[in-house]
Amino acid sequence: MSGSNDPGSTCSETTLTVNGKPHTLLVDHRRVLLDVLREDLELWGARKGCDHGQCGACTVLVDGRRVNSCLLLAVALDGSEVRTVEGLAGDGEDLHPLQQAFLDRDAFQCGYCTPGQLCSALGMLDEAAAGHPSRVTTDVPAGRPVPLDRDEIRERLSGNLCRCGAYPRIVDAVEDVIP
């Protein structure tokens, strides 16, 4: 593999800021963000459940929006800010309040989908606050925050599968942190 940004090369220098830390990497053009996080940066928290955008276990936040990191070619994300489960707790925080709520509510069993559920829920809270409607949203004026009841939470988190069946408790945990 050649290692430059020349035409015909198979790798490109790519800069990603992950959990506040910049990383400049020579990235195989075929490599998706998920594999950069896991294999290059050894941030294993984003999990690989299906590699096809079907399960949500790889969900992270890119420039503040939740994404399936298995579907994004890393080379196309040059300059992006990425936040993973490892970066959820704020400065001086042991755990993000949502992480604590997952513990308090026993909102997981095997734990494999958990980082994706957490990142997805945080992205979802911002989307609702910004007024993004969902399929079950009714009668909310455009641009106004959408109140999140349990049906809204369920609908908006449906891209994140949990085979252990922790769904009701995940909804409980998310409700705990709604401002």
Partner: protein, 719 residues
């Protein structure tokens, strides 16, 4: 303790004399922090210097032989290290489990069978290499279609679990023919896939003739034994770690091809190798719940008492090995009927090998039985809860053994009370809300009590703490936590003074996390070790060097019991069926269980709810089909095989009745990991019937089937 007193959710139900028992308490998961911070490491997440990645090549024909493998194009790709096939793979001993006979010969027993493995410097290189391998086949005609009257079907000696294939009492056909009230119906359950969120994965490394693997398994002790046998090395040269496992639901009960292939690839290349199976490859190689076709004949007196009970199951297995889903076996346990027959027939087809999926036998068998019981209640004009109660047996119907404890009636009554069953209008189709039809249903659940011998060590440390060591596996059940509770209880110390290590063959050998037997098996060994340690210490000081005691429950945990031992439960469901779209939504789901002593109310509730969630999927969304032309599962990934998502799952209630059963194990516990799925699909199906007045006898209850039923009026009998 009287078994009729319902527990208060979240409150420990019984405390020892000192009032400090850790058992039953809602203790938080010990590994919870690692899971919510993403620092828990699973099998593929094991970086090593020089680690390579592997990608399998599945057979693209349903039956035949590999006649040639052209690896030149693959090997020419940058980063491809090796291509393994039957032509060059390390020679291994013949496995006991023929599913593990990978890359041994040219035979293709089913589509998706791995015929090659590409090892690359990176995932991308391995994947590109796999795409570039050219495989030629001599193709043979295949047959993957299960029918009720397949000429190759036979009656197996045994079904999974070692149960007799057929049992018969009295004259079931004659008793059925002369019964005043009869139900004769067929039900079918499609192939189902386990699909744990973590795909099967292994990282393997050889050093100086010693093999170390990190693998996603429900039982590392067996993985070590199998690998040692296959590779011809002593067991103490093999170390297997399974610290965190992202679910299994039966599909990781014994080693699967990933661990064999990763170890082969590591030996062949001299590099550490990770093989994480792509999701779409799983259905063909890790086992599935075999499809089952049921015929049920229930003959009853006008008062509801069964006089004949016949449950016949037809299923498939592969050409690789015989696996018979024991779906008629639960019928041997449930109801008093003087004349009965429970029988299995199995047809070997060119299909992937079926194996265990959560409550093998019980889940499909109880779906069929409990649906037919609902039909019988309808024929009798009887309440379905009461029908079950009048058929409560005094002893286990098939064996005649007394039950060690059986509180099904209490579960039904308590569930009915909590659910508000008495407010139900029994007439089908009687409750409409605009275009919706609303109904409710009930079903019973049962799961056998099992335990296997295990060993454990417990050490009293000089700092006043205790260290429990056992090769148990935490697949998400909370094994670490409940075992620490068992130890704390027996040692009469606070649970935070007990440290615990699980998930490695460096620890004392223990049985698998399967058959809802983990806590009973491991807990028994931990309890024994702690009892002996307490005796040795006898209140005296701990020696400066600590004091370790071991226990082995061989001969105890596997001893025959004069009792029939099972957990029981009752499921209640309310559904709304859209008469325009045919969509069924579950509005309420409630389970009440009698499962011995509940050892951790927090994690137990999660397991019950999780089982019910999988049962909801079985009822409404999960179904796989064998493509007759291509011979593979059409629904092989998570976009096509629909496991329940958040939006499908309402708030689910799980409750339990306290049982004090002295015939189980020192903790008095029954398994809880599987019973939640067992009656759920039937309860939902019965609710759909109650809502609509039409019976759909084929799972899953997808909109097309439900809508077809509504439009058709009376449904055919299902066969």
């Amino acid at each position: 303790m009287d078994a009729t007193a319902p527990s208060t959710p979240g409150v420990p139900v019984e405390r020892r004399e000192n009032g400090e028992s850790a058992l039953g308490a809602p203790v938080e998961r010990r590994e919870g922090r690692q899971k919510v911070t993403g620092t828990a490491r699973y099998a593929a997440e094991q970086p090593r210097p020089g680690r390579a990645h592997a990608w399998p090549v599945p057979a693209s024909v349903a039956r035949g032989r590999v006649t040639g493998i052209d690896t030149a194009a693959a090997l020419a790709l940058p980063g491809v290290l090796a291509v393994l096939s039957h032509e060059n793979a390390p020679r291994l001993s013949e496995p006991d489990d023929a599913m593990l006979a990978v890359l041994r010969d040219s035979r293709v027993p089913h589509r998706g069978w791995f015929v090659a493995l590409v090892v690359g410097e990176t995932l991308e290189a391995a994947r590109a290499g796999a795409a570039a391998v050219r495989v030629d086949y001599a193709v043979e005609d295949h047959d993957v279609t299960l029918t009720r009257d397949h000429p190759a079907a036979y009656a197996p000696e045994e079904a999974n679990g070692g149960y007799p294939g057929t049992r018969e009492h009295g004259d079931p056909e004659g008793a059925f023919a002369s019964a005043p009230v009869r139900v004769d119906v067929g039900y079918s359950v499609p192939p189902l896939h386990n699909h744990p969120m973590e795909p099967h994965a292994t990282t393997a490394e050889w050093q100086d003739g010693r093999l170390t693997v990190h693998t996603s398994t429900q039982g590392a002790t067996t993985v070590r034994a199998v690998l040692a046998g296959l590779f011809g090395v002593p067991e103490d040269h093999v170390t297997v770690h399974a610290e965190h496992v992202g679910g299994g639901f039966g599909s990781k009960g014994t080693p699967r091809p990933d661990v064999v292939l990763a170890a082969m690839a590591a030996r062949h290349t001299g590099r550490p190798v990770t093989l994480a199976l792509p999701r779409r490859f799983l259905p063909a190689v890790v086992g599935h719940r075999a499809p089952t076709l049921h015929r049920l004949r229930l003959g009853a007196r006008p008062d509801g008492r069964l006089v004949s009970l016949i449950h016949e199951v037809t299923t498939h297995t592969s050409r690789v090995k015989e696996f018979v889903e024991q779906a008629a076996v639960p019928t041997r346990v449930m109801y008093a009927a003087p004349d009965s027959r429970t029988a299995h027939r199995v047809t070997p087809l060119d299909v992937p090998t079926p194996s265990w999926m959560r409550a093998p036998g019980e889940a499909p068998g109880m779906y069929a039985l409990e649906s037919a019981m609902d039909e019988l209640a309808g024929e009798l004009g009887m309440d379905p809860v009461e029908l079950r109660i009048v058929n409560e047996p005094d002893t286990e119907p098939d064996s005649g053994k007394p039950f060690s404890s059986r509180h099904l009636v209490e579960c039904l009554r308590e569930g009915a009370r909590r659910f508000g069953w008495d407010r139900r209008d029994p007439r089908p189709g009687s409750r409409a809300e605009g275009p919706l039809l609303v109904g409710s249903g009930v079903a019973a659940a049962m799961y056998p009590v099992m335990a296997q011998p295990s060993t454990a060590a417990v050490r009293a440390l000089s700092d006043g703490n205790f260290l429990v060591r056992i090769n148990a596996t935490d697949i998400g059940t909370g094994a670490r936590t409940v075992l620490a509770q068992i130890a704390a209880d027996r040692l009469a110390v606070p649970v935070d003074r007990v440290r615990i290590e699980v998930g490695s063959t460096d620890l004392p050998a223990a049985s698998l996390a399967g058959g809802s037997s983990g806590t009973a098996s491991w807990g028994w060994a931990v309890h024994e070790a702690c009892a002996r340690l307490a005796e040795r210490l006898a209140g005296g000081p701990v020696p400066a060097e600590g004091l370790e005691v071991r226990a082995d429950t061989a001969g105890q945990a596997d001893a025959d019991s004069p009792y029939a031992r099972h957990a029981f439960g009752a499921h209640f469901a309310e559904v709304a069926v859209d008469t325009v779209t045919g969509e069924t939504r579950v509005r309420r789901l409630l389970g009440v269980y009698a499962a011995g002593r509940i050892l951790n109310s927090r994690t137990a509730r999660s397991q019950f709810v999780g089982g019910m969630t999988m049962g909801l999927g079985m009822a409404l969304t999960e179904g796989s089909t064998m493509d007759a032309a291509f011979g593979d599962f059409t629904e092989s990934d998570l976009a096509s095989y629909h496991v329940p998502a958040h939006a499908d799952v309402p708030d689910i209630e799980a409750h339990w009745i306290d049982e004090d059963d002295p015939h189980l194990n020192p903790m008095g516990s029954k398994g809880i990991g599987e019973i939640g799925i067992v009656g759920t699909a039937a309860a939902i199906g019965n609710a759909v019937f109650h809502a609509t007045g039409t019976r759909v006898r084929e799972l899953p209850l997808t909109p097309d089937r439900v809508l077809g039923g509504i439009g058709r009026g009376a449904a055919p009998r299902g066969f």
